[in-house]
Amino acid sequence: MKFKVPMNEMQSLLQKVMPAIPPKATLPILEHLHFSAEHGKLRAIATDQDITIIVTINVETEHEGSVLVPGRRFEQIIKLQDPSAILEFTVDVENLDIKLFTGTGKYIIKGLNVDEYLDIPELFKAEKPDIEKLISGNFKAGAKAIFSKEEAKFLSSKTVFAVSEDEYRPAMTGVLFQFRNEYVKAVATDSYRLVIAKSGESESQYPDNLDIILPKRTVELLKKIDERIEITTLETNDRITHIRFDVDNTIFISKIIDERFPPYETVIPLENKYYLQVSQKELIKAINRVSIQANTFSKHVKLSISKNQLVVSGRDEDMGTTGDETISCEFNGDTFETGFNFKFLLEAVQNIEIDEKSDDIITIMFSEPIKPVLIKSNPASDDLVMLLMPVRIN
């Protein structure tokens, strides 16, 4: 196996595939990249079994073939090379030594036989890795969707922080994507807060009535993509097991979380009598300031709201410390008192994107003291809704 490729193209390939290489793989074989070169193309595959990334680039092939490349070491070497250099990649058929020529340097690393590459059982039912089948599209594809540029980024970056760590409730360890023909909603909750991001772009395409939960890691990867994405669901025995994203020269396959997402619509209070409107910047500052004084374990801050003024306070009974910040606000009730975990409150408030109409003002909507509060950029907007469960005092 032998090919030549501009260094910068190899560098960009590695940037794309490496996220699928687990930091500490349970199986050492997974720390390898599967390289195969034929017909002037190099295909690189990386997988941690949950996520598989396949990137294809054009190369100058001299001898076709394939090899397993130790991923991290290869990346370390390539990263430091001059991007304008040409990389010559040769594999010794005898001992699978990989020789790298960079113009100024020569490196030898140990490759492995591709036969040792792991089967990806969830994805490919075949006994041997059947990546070909996937690439050729010879599988049962389900629904198709298209995300316009930056849509995936918006939906994932606004939701992924609220994903639960609770292994007992796997559905909540991912982000729910709800496709509804005209729009898509991404929903995440850890049961203390819930976030709903909604998008309906004209150049996008959404299937009708499709609900899929994507694992947190997958969504983290989507966050980094600001390209148009083609989405295909992959089915086994008429059940969706995986989802495939096609971005430019990259194919990105992830397993889905095959669970029922909690019925989040039922917990959104329908009647919210009270509206608090307050400057997002001021509120963030206030929370940051008083949280220093709050108990480090309970992380509790209190909001005391009256007509024109909001007092944010943190205190620590054990230390005898208190901190209050007063900011002006508009409130349509008389007084209201509630409390939150300051970390959750801060993340919720920071997450809200202010549209031009709102002018730094966010709206917090209350119904009853123990019901969740809604945080939005303005009462009418439903592009981004945060729900936050208050902390009650016994």
Binding site: S164, E165, D166, R169, T189, D318, N394
Partner: protein
């Protein structure tokens, strides 16, 4: 139809009451000695025969009774001790229910001889069950003598239930000892048949204790002296050397009355948690004085159980008083007081849980020296003045304060230095918090800090356990934060765990959990204490249930759960991130009652002295 409801004849009513008041000979002794004390006797003799079954004879030099009083005294609900309902709310005497003598008379032959000081002649009353009492004049000393003969002779069932003579005698002796201890300024004489058990003349409290409980207590009694707006605590606690495997040697008196009280008992055990093994019981003799209005003694005929208006204040006060004494007398480990004392600045501390009124107290954190509140207040207002007036304390020539006052600086602005090291009186020592400099962090567990010349290694897990445990304990009944969930967690549990959960659910709720038990196998977790991190809810709940499952759940459930929760949270504690966080953590640790040991007795701080380190390199 004939009527079926009758008013009980008085005699039967008395016998029923006797079942509650007079359970055994010891009860008679208790009731009668209480009467003597209420009659202001200064000398009381108790003579017992056949463990009280044959004879209980009490002689006192109290006020005595008139003929009319004597006649009334054996009637039910006759009492000289309360007159109005208001009196009942403010009981200062031992007796008040007016049922003791009447009850005793219904189950024994009783003879009473009594004379008031002003009367020339006394009166004798002879009472036998079901017979009218006979009263006749008699020549006798001032005071009252009561003979109770053949107790329970007419109630064979009850007589049968009495234990062996030895056991019954022990009950009596124990009661007499309790009276003798709490009334140390009175003379008590105690005979078994003709044999003198003791004759105790009025004495100091400490001497009386040693005379009644044994000489081995000398050098092992730690005085307790404490008072706040609510109550006064005095008495003695024991060093760990005299802790026993049984619960004998524990005496608790409330306004002179011997009582048992779980809350107080638990406070005491909590103080000893770090120094005693689990199977050892501390020695204590504590006298609590409290406004009678704030306590209800009328919840049990035997009156050894009481109900406080505010259990938490009682708990905290007892806890604080004992911790203070233990620290003062070096029972709780400490950074070397007398070396360090000279060098640490004062720090202000808001004493939160101990003082309900949130007083600011000034504490020399390393020594635990607490500075008189009034003094500190005055000087707080006038920061220019000398912080502590030197003449308040005697000078100790050994060392003097050096200028190291950064913490003081922060708190009070301009430095005012105490130039003289004081001779610390035991009462003036309390908390300890050295000025500590964080050196480094061996994540996630160990924090290294410098305190003067000592290197402290702080186990942050054990420290977290201590901090959280105290937070939970301090917020019991006050403010626990409860984080509700949008989606309750449905959880399947084995039946026996559900059964355990049912027993502890109240306490879990007080800690901030909200759990609905749906069936014998499923629960819904609706809210959690806000300290629990997302993802840990179920594991922590399961750990608590498992822990409690293997214990006999009887008392202190809240504390047991608190401890387990604190432990579980401590194990899951994330690493400390910033230097500020580390400093706050250490400060917090030093606001706890015992920063050196976790409630489950793990070492929190290991101190390496400079000399220790020298030794490593020797």
């Amino acid at each position: 139809m004939s009527n079926k409801i009758n008013i009980l004849p008085e005699f039967i009513a008395n016998q029923i009451a006797a079942g509650e008041v007079v359970q055994r000979p010891e009860s008679v002794v208790k009731e009668l000695v209480e009467n003597s004390l209420d009659a202001n006797a200064t000398e009381i003799a108790i003579i017992i025969k056949d463990a009280g079954k044959q004879l209980i004879h009490i002689i006192d030099n109290g006020t005595g009774m008139s003929r009319e009083d004597l006649e009334l005294s054996i009637k039910r609900h006759s009492t000289s001790k309360i007159y109005t309902l208001e009196d009942l709310e403010e009981i200062k005497t031992y007796g008040f229910r007016g049922e003791a003598l009447a009850s005793i008379c219904s189950v024994a032959q009783v003879e009473i001889r009594t004379r008031q000081e002003e009367d020339k002649i006394g009166w004798k009353l002879i009472s036998e069950p079901l017979k009218d009492a006979v009263i006749e004049p008699v020549i006798c000393d001032k005071g009252t003598q009561i003979f109770v003969k053949n107790l329970f002779y007419n109630v064979p069932a009850r007589r049968k239930f009495l234990r062996t003579n030895l056991t019954e005698f022990r009950y009596i002796a124990d009661t007499v000892i309790k009276f003798a201890i709490s009334n140390y300024n009175k003379r008590f004489t105690f005979y078994d048949y003709d044999q003198l058990i003791f004759d105790l003349i009025p004495d100091t409290f400490e001497n009386r204790i040693i005379k009644t409980l044994g000489k081995e207590l000398i050098d092992h009694l730690i005085p307790v002296n404490y008072s706040n707006n609510y109550l006064k605590i005095s008495g003695f606690i024991g060093t760990k050397e005299i802790a026993r495997k049984t619960k004998s040697n524990q005496y608790l008196f409330l306004n002179g009355r011997s009582i048992v009280n779980r809350s107080i008992n638990f406070a005491i055990y909590s103080c000893y948690e770090a120094i005693l093994d689990k199977n050892k019981h501390p020695f204590y003799i504590l006298m609590l004085e409290i406004d009678p209005k704030k306590v209800d003694v009328n919840i049990h005929p035997q009156k050894n159980e009481v109900k406080f208006d505010d259990d938490k204040i009682i708990f905290n006060s007892v806890f604080e008083s004992i911790i203070k004494s233990l620290k003062t007398f070096h029972q709780i480990p400490d950074i070397d007081y007398f070396e360090k004392l000279s060098q640490f600045p004062l720090q202000k501390e808001l004493s939160t849980h101990q003082f309900p009124n949130k007083q600011q107290i000034l504490v020399n954190k390393i020594t635990g020296e607490i500075i008189d509140n009034q003094v500190s207040k005055q000087n707080f207002i006038q920061p220019q003045g000398n912080f502590i007036q030197g003449q308040r304390f005697k000078e100790n020539p050994k060392t003097s304060y050096t200028r190291n006052f950064s913490a003081y600086d922060i708190l009070f602005g301009k430095p005012n230095i105490i130039e003289k090291r004081e001779n610390i009186k035991p009462e003036e020592l309390i908390n300890i918090e050295p000025q500590i400099k964080i050196l480094g962090y061996l994540a996630p567990k160990y924090l290294f800090a410098l305190s003067q010349d000592d290197l402290l290694i702080i186990n942050t897990f054990a420290a977290t356990e201590r901090i959280l445990y105290e937070t939970f304990r301090n917020t019991e009944n006050t403010e626990r934060l409860r984080q509700n969930m949008l989606f309750p967690i449905k959880l399947n549990l084995p039946q026996d765990q559900i059964a355990t959960l049912r027993m502890i659910n109240n306490e879990l709720e007080r800690l901030g959990f909200e759990i609905v038990i749906e069936s014998n196998s499923t629960i819904n977790l609706i809210a959690i204490p806000s300290e629990i991190k997302s993802g840990d809810e179920i594991n922590i709940l399961k750990e608590i249930i498992e822990e409690l499952e293997n214990q006999e759940i009887t008392e202190f459930i809240y504390d047991k759960i608190s401890l387990k929760l604190a432990k579980s949270l401590a194990l899951r504690k994330g690493p400390l991130q910033t230097k500020e966080e580390m400093e706050e953590f250490v400060n917090k640790l030093f606001t706890t009652t015992n920063p050196f040991f976790s409630p489950s007795k793990k070492t929190i701080i290991k101190i390496l002295k400079n000399s220790d380190i020298d030794n490593y390199f020797a």
